[in-house]
Amino acid sequence: MDNTRHISSSNGPVDPAVAGLMEGEQTFETVSERLASIVLRQDKHKLPWWIMLGIGFVMYNLLGIALTKLLLYGVGIWGIDEPVGWGWAIINFVWWIGIGHAGTLISAFLLLMRQNWRNSINRFAEAMTIFAVLCAGIYPVFHTGRPWCAYWLFPYPNILGMWPGWRSPLLWDVFAVSTYASVSILFWLIGLIPDFATLRDRAENVVVKKTYGVLSLGWRGAAEHWQRYETASLILAGISTPLVLSVHSIISFDFSIGIVPGWHTAISPPYFVAGALYAGFAMVIILAVPLRKWYHLEDYITPKHMDWCAKLMLTSGLVVLYGYMSECFFSYLSGNHIEIRMMELRQFGPYGAAYWFLILCNGVIPQLLWIPKVRFHNGWLFFISVVVSIGMWLERYVIVVVSLTRDFLPSSWGYFAPTIWDILMYAGTIGQFIFLFFMFVRVMPMINIFEMRELVHKTHGHVHSSAEEHSAATPVSLPAQPAE
């Protein structure tokens, strides 16, 4: 059977709305083959994959060691003490949660906005979200000191007569983050079903075929399936989009609801959300640059995608910069000596170097993205994204540590320094993220296969079918084909 659909180049001009989103001579078959083969063929995963998996595995083990030590000895092994009770655990929690936001924005919000450029990056960005939330979740659970009692945070009917403190944003976090994780996983898995069907149809190994067959939940590509799929996607996108705002807004309330100087500022919610998207887009670029090179995906993740991600990173970064300027300006203008002192401490106190370095990383260097050549240069993009990731970590460090080391009682002022266990745990979660991400690349299509086939259709206008499509996982916008 001839499994290809021939795309005529004489079908008229390419729709400018999708121009540049796919390069090379593409047919449904080439798209399916190239993207599915990454999962189905081990030889597609060369040395860089093994190296990254190895690094991830080793660092993941550090997490195991750090957590074992933590369970045996308690949170005293960390650098936290009075007055800094939050330390690296909360810094890293906020950093990881923030990273996930770009994935949700790409997968949900851009879907509602009918932005076709999301198609080739949404799958791995969603995976990034889920793994980032998994990394984030570890910290508050272990930071409680008694992780085996973490379920007390949920309002289950218990015989102890205890009830969670509803006025605390820390409790709102439990609901916000758990909802976010649940919806993100559901959205991701539902989006994978048609692609699992493609893998099922293309797999030669019986075990692999059966595994993807089970995962594809009986998907046959019938019009009814596609209709339900589209409805479910839109509903989940509608639920996910407010979560982009709500999760990090609630995290910002963890800080701003109280009256701790430096934390209690009205701009916190949009400033935290923008910071989350900033770090998230940086991570998307950090992942996209090597992936497209190692797996020769330049035809699918094109310079236009990188340009859009860079523009969104720049935009969110400008909101963050506005937040820094606003905080600084109003602190000095307020005439409130506590606010003024706090800003002086941030800028010129014991952690002053961290403050100015974060301004350099988040406020100065990313301005290079105004230059179009930089946005189209992978090396520069990768560098700036790494710089932004460092800057966003430092931002949380400065927020958490500076305000807590100088609270209202001068007698309790202190200095915070992390221990080796703080560092090992952070390295461990980075390892967990790398390990899970490269395992995902191995067993799941990192680019949405069926949406790319749909893009072939949109990019080239009308498609003349000369044969039946082999796969059942063809979008409903194409003429329906019977399943094999």
Binding site: P16, S249, G258, I267, S268, P270, L318, Y322, L333, G335
Partner: protein, 408 residues
């Protein structure tokens, strides 16, 4: 390229209403300010801030339209240009506010006795003083007018040039001007509202206020444009009859829905943080507005600027009807007028206090209405005069034309 054969009736009516507003406004302002010159200035700054917010919104959306090059902006582009260009008028109308500052009638920081008694005001006097405020404000207006002029000039090339590559180039140039322009506007407006609104209270400040003002300004401008365009489409005026399609009203509805949600998000965030913090210098803002007459106004704003538009604009069927989108826009626009006064007026008055009798309240209301009408009347005269000069709608972006032609 779209040419308007005749000036639409609605805009002609607005052109007539403008001078009427101005005359009635002047009479009411003078009548209402009989109690004292301070009342005159209070009313003046309240009216000025509303119309300034409308021009700011027009300026912001004009730049946003140049950056995103979307279809929804085309029927509204000229309205945004005309509204933004009115900054020139607002710069002239700012003179009474300078006089008020110089004669200690408006700002607490300008009052020497109050400054001497208040260490925070004394500390802030390096920033808040009449000469510096004047320089800052006029520098800001100059920068804005330069950007507006550049955008209009390049926009004309884009509209009038028959050559597609030149039009594409002009479109890119407009986007390149608009991107830094937008950034500069956000920063300068933050400083502006700090000067003009927040400093009316001796101590209160909010880092969110710039964002809140900007989204309010955007809502005012968007609803103003939507009301005009959809009404003209309903009246079968060319070229709006063709341009205001179901898709267009749906896009406008979605944008308005998004903007009301963002406004609600910013507002509830600020409220929640200040309410929880319960610090005297912050929470007084809401205490003033949640007591007496203002408690009703606060509730009405929340209902009319969030809950009602939210429910109306959720329905895709309603969004496709020009009359429904117009009605939703009118509701939001009227609420914008109230909300702007809700922000400014309590800075001056304690309406529920024993010292304000009914007569004083009524006289105050007359002066506020008068100043609003007077400044608004002048604003509308220049607005319609600008629109008479050229075509009523911008030409579609050349990139967009290709997309649409391809789609059909």
């Amino acid at each position: 390229m779209v040419n308007n054969s005749g000036f639409p009736k609605l805009l002609t009516r607005i052109g007539i209403v403008g001078p009427v507003f101005a005359v009635i406004g002047l009479v009411l302002l003078l009548a209402g300010s009989g109690g004292g010159v301070s009342q005159f200035y209070h009313a003046w700054i309240n009216g000025w801030i509303f119309w300034m917010s409308l021009s700011t919104g027009c300026f912001g959306l004009m730049m946003l339209g140049a950056m995103v090059r979307a279809q929804w902006v085309q029927p509204l582009q000229r309205f945004f240009e005309a509204g933004a260009w009115n900054y020139a008028l607002l710069a002239i109308l700012f003179v009474p506010i300078i006089v008020a500052a110089a004669t200690n009638h408006l700002f607490p920081w300008a009052h020497p006795v109050q400054v001497a008694a208040d260490p925070i005001l004394a500390y802030r006097s390096h920033w808040f003083n009449t000469p510096f405020l004047t320089v800052r404000t006029y520098l800001m207006f100059t920068v804005f007018l330069v950007f507006i002029r550049m955008l209009i000039k390049v926009g004309k090339v884009q509209d009038e040039h028959p050559d597609i590559p030149t039009r594409l180039k002009a479109g890119s140039l407009r986007a390149s001007i608009a991107a830094p322009g937008f950034l500069i506007m956000v920063l300068l407006i933050t400083l502006g509202v700090t000067d003009w609104i927040m400093s009316l209270d001796p101590h209160w400040y909010s880092t969110m206020y710039g964002f809140l003002f900007l989204i309010g300004a955007g809502l005012a401008a968007m609803t103003f444009g939507v009301i005009l365009a959809s009404q003209m489409a309903i009246e079968n005026e060319e070229p709006f009859k063709e341009l205001v399609t179901r898709q267009m009203t749906r896009d406008w509805g979605n944008l308005l829905l998004m903007m009301t949600m963002v406004w609600a998000y910013f507002s509830i965030s600020q409220y929640l943080i200040y309410w929880s913090g319960n610090l005297p210098e912050e929470v007084t803002f809401y205490i003033q507005r949640n007591a007496g007459t203002f408690a009703w106004v606060t509730s009405a704003i929340v209902i009319c600027q969030f809950f009602l538009p939210f429910l109306l604009l959720l329905s895709s069927r309603l969004k496709r009807r020009p009359n429904m989108i117009r009605n939703a826009a009118i509701l939001i626009f009227l609420t914008r007028i109230v909300e702007e006064a809700w922000n400014v007026v309590p800075m001056f008055h304690s309406w529920h206090g024993a010292d304000s009798g009914l007569a004083v309240q009524f006289q105050g209301l007359i002066s506020y209405l008068g100043a609003w009408l007077l400044i608004g009347g002048l604003w509308l005269i220049l607005f319609t005069r600008y629109l008479r000069k050229g075509s009523l709608v911008g030409s579609p972006d050349p990139q967009l034309v290709e997309v649409l032609e391809h789609a059909h």
